[in-house]
């Protein structure tokens, strides 16, 4: 659930605009706090982890329904400051490839950010509780909890947007009244069947309930897949290169020389 697939021009302006404002503030905060050389050294890492998230998002496990996000992995490896930047970068690229709306980049950034930051914090907490030997368990639980929380955030967002009903009137975005229009076909069968104004008085709660039901029934399967993948990946990294996980994201990485240099022991 790392981003909302809501197109441009559906959410009310105040909502997506405040998404942009909050996201911009956080990005500004993160980048002013990270002016040091040790952060600059990590810029390629931000780029490459963001690309990894993008690549994994675009390789679907079950076509259309599920793709993995690796947001928790990204959060754990990047730490909070860099994760904020990474979330924004991921959403900009997605939007420019037509994958999501441009106006909702702000909100989507906040969603991805929330996932990365929560994932990072929960992973660290669970590792502290369970110990370093149980990285898999810690990352699995952290992922499920993170996704459950961010899915709830998403439902809350949709509820706040009011796109599902009468409150849309004040935003004007999907005013049922605006949507009724007269066309040359409006008297015919087509008009009545497809383009009639429909049940104008749909209660707001119905749409939201339907949305929430869909998200909460389809969601957990995705959470589980994501948790298994995250656990496997972080378990692997913990085994092969533990310093990446335990020493904090800004610790200098071990320099692995390409090619033939590590043959002598």
């Amino acid at each position: 659930m790392s981003h909302i697939h809501i197109p441009d021009g559906v959410l009310p302006v105040w909502l997506w605009l405040s998404g942009w404002v909050i996201a911009a503030a956080l990005i500004w905060f993160a980048s002013t706090r990270s002016r040091g050389a040790d952060v600059r050294r990590k810029v390629p890492l931000v780029g490459i982890i963001s690309a990894l998230v993008l690549v994994s998002m675009s390789s679907e496990i079950v076509p259309i329904a599920y793709h993995i996000n690796l947001t928790v992995v990204a959060g754990v490896l990047l730490g909070p400051q860099l994760a904020i930047v990474s979330a924004f970068v991921v959403q900009v690229v997605l939007a420019l490839l037509g994958h999501g709306g441009v106006t909702v980049i702000g909100l989507n950034t906040l969603m991805t950010m929330a996932e990365m930051l929560l994932g990072w914090a929960l992973f660290r907490a669970f590792v502290r509780v369970l110990g370093r030997t149980r990285v898999r368990a810690a990352s699995g639980i952290a992922t499920v909890v993170t996704l459950a929380i961010t899915t709830t955030l998403l439902v809350g967002l949709v509820a706040a947007s009011g796109v599902t009903g009468a409150t849309a009137r004040e935003t004007g975005a999907l005013d049922p009244q605006n949507l009724t229009f007269a066309s040359p076909f409006s008297e015919g069968v087509v008009g009545v069947g497809l383009f009639s104004g429909g049940e104008k008085a749909t209660a707001p709660a119905v749409g939201l309930k339907r949305f929430a039901t869909i998200v909460y029934t389809l969601g957990p399967v995705g959470w589980l897949i994501e948790a298994l993948v995250t656990a496997a990946i972080l378990g692997y990294v913990a085994r092969v290169r533990p310093s990446l996980i335990f020493e904090g994201p800004l610790a200098p990485t071990e320099r692995i020389l390409p090619g033939d240099e590590l043959g002598v022991h």
Binding site: D8, P44, L45, A51, L52, V93, P176, A182
Partner: protein, 266 residues
């Protein structure tokens, strides 16, 4: 997501849109998005979509690669619309808006090399963000290649699909773990190369000048006109609603004319 095709088109395409200044294209893109946000009329959105399609056709852009990308968000929009839209009309509007905005974005990316687009973002964001954005884009290619190599290796050594889904899933996940480690090492090497080649905290992108100022002006003027139409229809919708059908009809005529003209030129 075939990024390689996109990049090739953006860099080596020779249409008018390729000649236009990136700034003009970004401005036109923003105006078009504004029209999509403003409008609440399905016919207006359809007209915008048809105009864009006519543009793609007239410029002979690689529609075969562009349209699937643009249609992709329709799937999610449809899910969202099904879940939350009060009626079929609203649902159709949601899907149409998604596809139109996506087509606009895809048209921009297929006609403008990515650093030119990202340079615009870079100008208004902190250095860290712009640089990360530029590096992300490049890394997508490298990682997509690596992932392809990895899955190829797995296929050769046992095959992914088939009889043991759990074992296959495990293998795929391990491959992702390997890809991650590779990525971390790659990041280090990439930074080394950047420093060796003169990087000191800000990637510099030279802005492409316009090679066709007329196209720039026409693009912006056209986008402004569309925004105007969308706004007028939004404000005076009660009076204009009976004539809404004329917009997509006009756009459709334009699209037809484009094809006719294209055919004759050949």
């Amino acid at each position: 997501m075939d990024v390689a095709v996109l990049d090739r088109s953006a860099v080596s395409g020779r249409s008018h849109l390729h000649l236009a200044a990136p700034r003009a294209k970004l401005l036109a893109f923003a105006l078009l998005l504004a029209s999509i946000v403003v409008t609440t009329n399905l016919f207006v959105v359809l007209a915008l979509l048809l105009v864009l399609l006519a543009l793609v056709a007239a410029e002979r852009l690689p529609a075969r690669s562009m349209l699937p990308l643009a249609a992709y968000p329709a799937i999610f929009a449809a899910v969202f619309a099904f879940a939350s839209a009060p009626d079929a009309l609203a649902a159709a509007l949601i899907v149409a808006k998604a596809v139109t905005a996506a087509l606009a974005a895809v048209t921009l990316m297929f006609t403008t090399p990515y650093p030119q687009v990202f340079a615009a973002v870079q100008r208004v964001t902190p250095g860290l963000v712009g640089d990360a954005l530029l590096m992300t884009y490049r890394a997508i290619f490298i990682l997509a290649d690596k992932l392809a190599d990895l899955t190829r290796a797995i296929r050769l050594r046992a095959g992914i699909a088939g009889t043991h889904p759990v074992r296959s899933a495990k293998a795929t996940t391990r491959a992702l773990g390997g890809l991650l480690l590779y990525s971390v090492d790659l990041a280090q090497r990439e930074y080394d190369v950047l420093v060796l080649r003169g990087y000191s905290g800000r990637l510099k992108v030279a802005e492409h000048p316009s090679r066709s100022p007329i196209t720039d002006r026409m693009l912006v003027a056209g986008a402004l006109a569309l925004l105007g139409v969308a706004t007028v229809w939004r404000i005076y919708w009660i009076g204009l609603i009976d004539y809404s059908w004329m917009l997509p009809a006009l756009a459709l005529l334009g699209l037809g004319a484009t094809f006719l003209f294209r055919g004759r030129k050949r």
